[in-house]
Symmetry: C2
Subunit: 511 residues, 2 copies
């Protein structure tokens, strides 16, 4: 067991460590695991694929563990669950709260709200099996079930269970990937120990393999309806992308997921959003909330790092809403809104309402973690090839190194651009530019109105478009340990854009 | 009508003009149209979306026209079909040979092999309709049908018909896109003038809109079977990609296309392969052959150009074959092999069989149009992070400007990389790097064997993997009017790769 205390590792906080994106105190991190909410202590738990001793993926893989009061300020507790053999790993999975002790792991001394069972993949050189473990101390340590595995098919590519309680059918439901057979398998169980196959699901872009499926009931905005959303990550296989997350909207009856249509849709249009998982046991007022790993298997092992590597995305709240995807078609679309928690403070805040003519520059006087929130109107159609953009960066060894995001009126697309002259940018998979289309948020007369919100945090930039309709999450790495120290808002066409802006630096209250 | 003769425009051949990829003599070009084979004259005809007077897309759009004896050496005849009003355009469509005069446009004076009917979209400010025209001179000029349109739904986004004769149901079949409703519509007709809707088809990644559907019967390798392949282009909407071409494999009974499965697959993993269309009336010995536009709506209007803009892809021969897409799954997969015709000559050819240790450099002594054909074996597993790559480029104003393609053993992916310090590379949509996974072509003991074939031609690089299993087509633009003048084969890990190589420069015999 490795329990790290932040106080002992002040140096580990250097090197472009994001502030509002979770990072491991030290070592390697990939997929989020075991996300759940502890109602008794009002505490969010996040586990994560973890190796404390390396900054590249390497067996034995542990579940690291972190907790948060607000989904943003995380306390890292280090490894919480490890394998019995160094050649094995505790691969991705999730946690459920077994209030009614269906598993029989608990007695009355364990508060029903803390009857925590982890379901995960045990990876061995011979096989991947689904195993379970329970915690008697609220999720800080685990006891493995004596009769593991609970699900085994003698396969080397069978992983990433996600289990939840399905009340209408009074059973636990597991979605799990037969990765290289492109099957999201759906199982049911009364006790988390015995599982029966209900159905298989395949759809969308298959790529090389399926990973990290998810299935969750999502509220439809402005209605009392819900629909089910099935998530599946592919890696590699997205053209130009490597790792990526798909989603499908449909019905789920406890046994079969029936998609509303046969289209393939993506959760994020950046390069660094993978293995998305939602929190279990979340009170209704928080809605559906999840986290993804903000990296890409194409280059996660080689991005600049010293003592730790990789961050999670911001938590995202999920709803469904009918939105135009082009002028002729409206459809039920996943709306993802980034969550910044109650411990986030905004300092050095600037707001205004201007027609962009000369660049507005905001220099860091605090953390250098910038949040921007723009609503802009494309006023002048004679500026047909104009761009509006937000730049962030720093002068490093005398050279400006910049990331940017913006809107290009010539092609009516948003872009995110991390091209710069650094070593990692020479990596043949560290694609510089990503793009996303979103239909206008609104119209002011003939003028389309768009919203662009973003957080630039150490080495990750998340850009969110039109209040949750689209996003691009990309990591970037200034040379040395530099982080952005200014943010600039500009347009290439004077008078084209009328902008309401709010720019602030984010800080975190300690807890 | 604009008839351009190459002989009059020698200067137009400068500026990075590709040699074995078709380019318009001058003006703007996008989608290939009206592709057909003239059996009487053994001549391939290609039409293309064209504006002779601009190098950006602009109404009135014409069909340009080119012919070839070998699918590589093209003779450009300029505009062949234009609209009656300058605000209108002749948008994409295709050509069929109406041997049996079902349309009634021909009398016995017209050879049955030259009874040519074009089906196209008339774009007006008010509407997009499907119109037809016929040619009495073998495809060099057209007479519009007096009672156009033949298909109209009072829609502004209804375009890109592709018609073919379906013998089993004795009818003409049209696939056409209701673009922003994401419908590939399938119609039938006895006479090319009256059309009845048979079915609608929607699948895959929808993006912003569907364009340029296609439907063709494709032979299955090593069998007498065929399957139908439905193509559809989306623009924008591929994450990171903008314009892209999807395909689906299934059955077609003359009325409904029934896909074998619900997966979405892509034809090319580069940024510049769009609006693919197959040739009609092709003799069986040529198989299924088609061409795409080698550009992307994200930046086609701003890439460097002087008097002409855009090229087509190489023609591709299409088959289907069962191939591994990962170690556990084999599936019927589109195999696309680039066609270099009988008029292509290879000069300055080097072949060898080496273990790469120091870079092999091949300097241009002829056209600078390089073809490379490698078969390599990943021998040494201790070179786990090694890359093998082909570089091509030139020294421009004292600086090396390079494109490259290769294989990275750390992530077992191929890459294509056009990152360089040029103005177009600063465009926020001109993504620098693309990637593709293909399962090994073969194994030599434990060592995976791969094949990488490519053509570097002026400003376009096509890379083809494992004999047709995958491809990446990307344009690139060296500064000034420079073209690559050398090609280099190298590996970052001495002894890792055993390579059989053939490198040559391509020239074209004149006809």
């Amino acid at each position: 067991m490795h329990i790290f205390l932040l106080a002992l590792l002040p140096l580990a906080w250097a090197f472009q460590r994001p502030l509002v994106h979770f990072t491991p105190t030290r070592g390697w991190m990939n997929d989020p695991n075991g996300l759940f909410y502890d109602e008794k202590n009002s505490l969010w738990h996040m586990y994560y694929q973890y190796n404390p001793d390396h900054i590249v993926w390497s067996e034995p893989v542990y579940w690291g563990h972190a907790t948060s009061k607000d989904l943003t300020q995380w306390h890292d507790h280090g490894a919480a669950l490890g394998s019995d053999n160094v050649q094995d790993g505790i691969f991705s999975g999730n946690i459920v709260v077994d209030r009614n002790n269906t598993s029989g792991f608990f007695n009355s001394s364990v508060d029903p709200e803390l009857r925590i069972v982890a379901i995960y993949t045990l990876n061995t050189p011979e096989e991947q099996t689904q195993d379970i473990a329970y915690s008697l101390d609220g999720g800080y340590s685990f006891v493995k079930y004596a009769h593991n595995p609970v699900l085994s098919h003698n396969l080397t590519q069978f992983r990433d269970p996600k289990v939840f309680w399905h009340a209408p059918s009074s059973q636990w439901v597991m979605v799990v990937a037969m990765s290289q057979q492109y099957k999201v398998q759906i199982y049911g169980s009364a006790d988390l120990k015995h599982w029966v196959l209900h159905s298989n699901f395949t759809l969308g872009v298959l790529g090389f393999q399926y990973e990290c499926p998810g299935l969750v009931e999502v509220p439809v905005e402005n209605s009392t309806d819900t629909r089910w959303v099935l998530f599946v990550a592919i890696n590699p296989g997205l053209p130009l992308g490597g790792s990526a997350n798909q989603y499908f909207v449909g019905d789920f009856d406890g046994f079969t997921f029936t998609p509303d249509d046969s289209q393939a849709r993506f959760m994020d249009y950046g390069k660094d959003f993978y293995a998305y998982q939602v929190f279990d046991n979340v009170p209704k007022e928080h809605g559906v909330v999840g986290v993804a790993w903000a990296s890409n298997w194409q280059y996660c092992a080689v991005v600049p790092a010293t003592t730790w590597r990789s961050s999670m995305s911001l938590a995202r709240n999920m709803t469904l809403a009918r939105r135009h995807v082009n002028p002729e078609t409206e459809m039920l679309t996943l709306i993802q809104r980034p969550v910044l928690g109650s411990l986030v403070r905004r300092s050095n805040r600037h707001t205004g309402n201007v027609t962009v003519h000369t660049p507005l520059t905001f220099n860091s006087s605090a953390t250098g973690v910038f949040e921007f929130d723009l609503t802009f109107k494309v006023k002048a159609q004679n500026c047909s090839t104009a761009q509006l953009q937000v730049l962030a960066g720093a002068r490093v060894n005398g050279t400006l190194q910049l990331v940017r995001a913006g809107y290009d009126n010539a092609v009516t697309l948003f872009f995110a651009d991390r091209a710069m002259d650094t070593e990692i940018n020479k990596n043949p998979f560290f694609t510089d530019k990503t793009a996303a289309y979103v239909d206008p948020y609104a119209y002011d007369g003939e003028a389309p109105v768009f919203k662009m919100y973003g957080v630039v945090d150490g080495n990750v930039m998340e850009v969110h478009l039109n209040d949750g309709l689209g996003s691009m999450t990309n990591t970037f790495f200034l040379d040395g340990d530099a982080k952005p120290d200014f943010l600039e808002l500009s347009s290439t066409c004077p008078g084209m854009y009328s902008v309401e802006y709010s720019v602030a630096e984010l800080t975190l209250d300690s807890t």
